[in-house]
């Protein structure tokens, strides 16, 4: 992380801020904040920004907890998993809610969640936010997650691989972030079974992308963390105001991260399937955490249940909102 | 009966040049005769034996065994190799029975005939051992049993005792002589031990080197079974040593280059004095 000696002497030594994010369109605010230079402007000339893209939230959380990145955008579930273990990360703000869909392969015979019994469903990573949503969906229908055909089988797979696997008929359905779902539907490989605004918890109104920071960074560079939140708000506002310009910005950033850009229509579809907001719905997170506990992903939780009070530090968010 | 007529053999060397290993070899071995071939290392003894066995083809001349021209190896001419060449994955019994198996003989008979030969070389107790569990002398006995069980008319032995220590070698000399006296096989025996050749054979052929030719022939007219103290043997030994001296020097000179001069050579000295002794 950035060294402690730099704390307070903002104008003197340059500070490197390592920002992590996932290579998903659902991280659009981050992409815009970078591409439009909001981050650099808010952090000041003294800060050097280093962006690291991750394939999944688990890797991101590990990196954050071990200080390889300072702050960044990620889904909440891996953050909760990590927090329970290391207790050294904080949720600062939201970025968007919703933005994931359940898609079924054409010919799989899945037309509703009920049909998932005995099927194979792909998720981006074990313990990911999408998996929690899926588990909630299944639970509502009284379906079990199993390792054989008696219930629903889960498999962790990177979204790109899921696309291929669906083409080859190896996966029946998947719950994954946009624009992958739209892409699968557009390519005629599958159909959307549960749209983004019906995905639990809270009917699509759950945090899918949030801003998280390591305790160390927050302690030494509270001001910088605040700047990131401000840049995030700038970006959200920009996306609301200039949707068309946003698409090319997102595509550019994706190209930088993965070597491949994305069609504007896909990005447009993706952005229309989520709601950008800085709000954090703590109840939704609590529900999700409980699902993770039930799934056995979070160990050592006593009768009292999960205590997530130390996970939030929303004071900065409050400051930025009030300051405006 | 072996007849070798004008046999020649040239090897292609790695540098492309030809190397004449055998040139114009002519000799005959009668039925039931025990003939040894002596000569310095590399003179072509093994090549000659392989040609007779049919394991290598001569470039010129012809080889006859028991009246038929030799074209390929066959069970009428069995070779006993220097390093025994027993199959390590077979027990003593299986090794000895290997040739019988190829002949299509039934398992029971195979076993009986093999055991008989194994007992003949005093290894009855070791029939179920693997070769690596035997001493050098015992392995060589097995190789002999393996050859004898085929009941070949001709035994070809390529330095069979070279790897053994003196005492074991002495034991095996006596055994081989005994076996030969009992079975009267035709034996062509290769060695570079003069005493061994003289002790065992009816006739000794001495080869010269580069190219390999038969240089001289000695007939050993001593009583059987041979006795080490026999003065006839000592006499012939000295004569052969004398014949070989020049060849040995040739080899020595090649090895040491000009460092090794004729004047200094201790061999010609000993050979000369030896010659006087012999006369």
């Amino acid at each position: 992380g950035s060294s402690k000696d730099n704390a307070g002497s903002k104008s003197a030594d340059p500070v490197t801020v390592k920002i992590g994010l996932l290579k998903n369109v659902t991280h659009a605010p981050a992409f815009v904040a970078i591409q439009k230079g909001y981050l650099q402007t808010r952090l000041g000339d003294n800060a050097k920004i280093e962006v690291q893209g991750f394939n999944n939230g688990a890797d991101f959380s590990t990196a954050l907890a071990t200080g390889q990145i300072d702050i960044g955008y990620v889904g909440p579930s891996p953050v909760i998993n990590q927090y329970v273990r290391s207790k050294n990360i904080k949720i600062l703000s939201g970025a968007n809610n919703g933005g994931a869909v359940l898609v079924a392969r054409k010919g799989s015979g899945v037309t509703s969640v009920k049909d998932l019994a005995g099927k194979l469903v792909a998720i981006p990573t074990k313990g990911s936010t999408n998996e929690i949503s899926l588990r909630l969906l299944l639970r509502d229908q009284g379906l079990q997650v199993t390792t054989d055909k008696s219930g629903t089988q889960l498999i962790a797979m990177a979204p790109a691989d899921t696309l291929t696997a669906m083409k080859q008929g190896q996966v029946d359905a998947t719950l994954l972030p946009e624009p992958w779902g739209t892409q699968i539907a557009n390519e005629g490989i599958g159909d959307i079974v549960v749209d983004w605004d019906r995905i639990p918890p809270n009917k699509g109104n759950y945090p899918l992308t949030i801003i998280v920071s390591g305790d160390g960074f927050l302690k030494d560079h509270r001001d910088l963390a605040k700047s990131v939140l401000l840049a995030n708000e700038d970006a959200i506002k920009f996306i609301h105001d200039n949707p068309d310009e946003t698409y090319s910005l997102v595509s550019d950033e994706l190209k930088e991260l993965t070597g491949k850009g994305l069609d504007a229509e896909l990005i447009e579809a993706a952005l229309s399937h989520l709601s950008l907001t800085t709000d954090i719905d703590r109840d939704a997170l609590k529900t999700m955490a409980q699902v993770a506990v039930d799934a056995g992903y979070v160990k050592g939780v006593g009768e009292a249940g999960l205590d997530l009070t130390g996970l939030y530090d929303l004071s900065l968010l409050k400051e930025t909102l009030e300051g405006k | 009966m072996i007849r070798v007529e004008a046999v020649g053999k040239t090897f292609m060397q790695r540098d492309g040049a030809g190397y004449t290993a055998l040139e114009d070899i002519d000799f005959e071995i009668g039925k039931g005769e025990f003939v040894s071939i002596l000569g310095p290392s590399g003179c072509g003894k093994s090549t000659l034996l392989n040609v007779v066995a049919g394991l290598e083809r001569a470039d010129s001349g012809r080889v006859e065994a028991n009246g038929k021209e030799v074209a390929q190896p066959g069970p009428d001419r069995i070779v006993v190799f220097q390093d025994h060449a027993l199959y390590p994955w077979l027990t003593v019994l299986e090794n000895v029975a290997f040739g019988l198996k190829q002949k299509g003989i039934k398992k029971k008979e195979r076993r009986e005939r093999a055991m008989e030969q194994i007992r003949a070389v005093h290894l009855g107790k070791f029939a179920d051992r693997y070769p690596h569990e035997l001493s050098g002398g015992m392995k060589q006995r097995v190789a002999i049993a393996r050859a004898l069980v085929m009941d070949p008319e001709i035994l070809l032995m390529d330095e069979p005792f070279a790897a053994l220590d003196e005492q074991t070698r002495l034991l095996l000399h006596k055994e081989l002589e005994q076996i030969w006296l009992n079975t009267r096989k035709t034996i062509l025996f290769i060695t570079h031990n003069i005493r061994e050749a003289v002790t065992l054979s009816d006739r000794v052929l001495v080869m010269s080197t580069r190219p390999g030719r038969i240089k001289k022939e000695f007939r050993v007219r001593a009583t059987r079974p041979r006795e080490p103290g026999d003065s006839v043997l000592h006499h012939i030994e000295s004569q052969i040593m004398d014949t070989l001296a020049a060849e040995l020097e040739k080899v020595a000179k090649e090895e040491y280059g000009n460092d090794y001069t004729l004047e200094k050579s201790p061999l010609s000295h000993s050979a000369a004095s030896n010659l006087g002794d012999g006369i």
Partner: protein, 254 residues
């Protein structure tokens, strides 16, 4: 006997030191404690997950290894017997052998999908070339005197020579080659399972990582170590030693 006791003592000591270090040095989530690991191991056994994964991995490696033995030996014999083949194609096999088979995984995924087949494919690839080279050189290195004397005893130059002399003569090298091939297959399997799917140890390890659960990770590593030790040292090495001893090839070693 004393050695065994010393080993046991050493193991117990190790466990104690490990647990103490965990408690005093606050490794926290970066490395599990001995007790956590044992608990996870027990849970894994109890809920059957660990056994299932082990069985899945073993099934895959056994299929792949059998395949690669068959393919490798067939190729090896062809290369050993045909000089032309060896001289024109030989270098391709040598080159293929140096490619870590995991590099083929992306292709396997395209061809077979993210499934068992892919993992079996790369595991097979991982062992085949080594087997090919081992059996080729096994047959090549047969002392010519064995073949000569076989012909003298009347095996001919055909199939009888092959299975009565050439195969047994090449066995020591084949076994050594198999041991090597197994090591490569084992590596390919674990890395394949880490990336591709299917119930297996690699996948379980990857799950442990996704959930940040170091005790699961360590548990899997230990299972892999135990399986590896059993297969390599208690199976392959024993067979190898027995064969080499029977063939009298160990003499020089000791």
């Amino acid at each position: 006997m004393t050695t065994r006791w010393r080993k046991a003592l050493f193991l117990i000591l190790l466990l104690v030191i490990w647990e103490t270090a965990y408690r005093t040095m606050h490794w926290g989530w970066r490395f599990p404690s001995a007790l956590q690991t044992m608990q996870t191991f027990y849970d894994g056994i109890a809920n059957g997950q660990l056994l299932d994964a082990t069985m899945g991995s073993l099934r895959r490696i056994l299929i792949a290894f059998s395949l690669s033995c068959v393919i490798g030996m067939t190729l090896g014999v062809l290369f050993a017997r045909s000089r032309l083949l060896d001289e024109t194609f030989g270098f391709v096999v040598v080159a293929l052998q140096t490619v870590p088979s995991i590099a083929w995984l992306p292709f396997a995924i395209i061809w077979f999908g993210l499934n068992d087949m892919s993992v079996i494919f790369i595991t097979t690839i991982g062992a085949t070339w080594t087997m090919t080279i081992a059996s080729r050189s096994g047959i090549r290195n047969i002392p010519p005197i064995y073949l000569k004397s076989a012909q003298m005893f009347g095996t001919g130059r055909g199939f009888r020579l092959f299975y009565q002399v050439m195969v047994p003569a090449a066995i020591p090298q084949l076994i050594t080659g198999m041991r090597m091939a197994w090591a490569f297959a084992w590596r390919a399997l674990v890395s394949g399972e880490l990336i591709a799917r299917g119930i297996g140890l690699g996948q379980l390890l990857e799950e442990g990582r996704s959930l940040g659960d170091t005790s699961v990770m360590l548990c899997i590593v230990l299972v892999i170590a135990i399986l590896g030790t059993i297969s390599d040292h208690l199976v392959f090495k024993r067979i190898e030693n027995r064969i080499w001893t029977q063939y009298g090839l160990n003499a020089a070693k000791t």
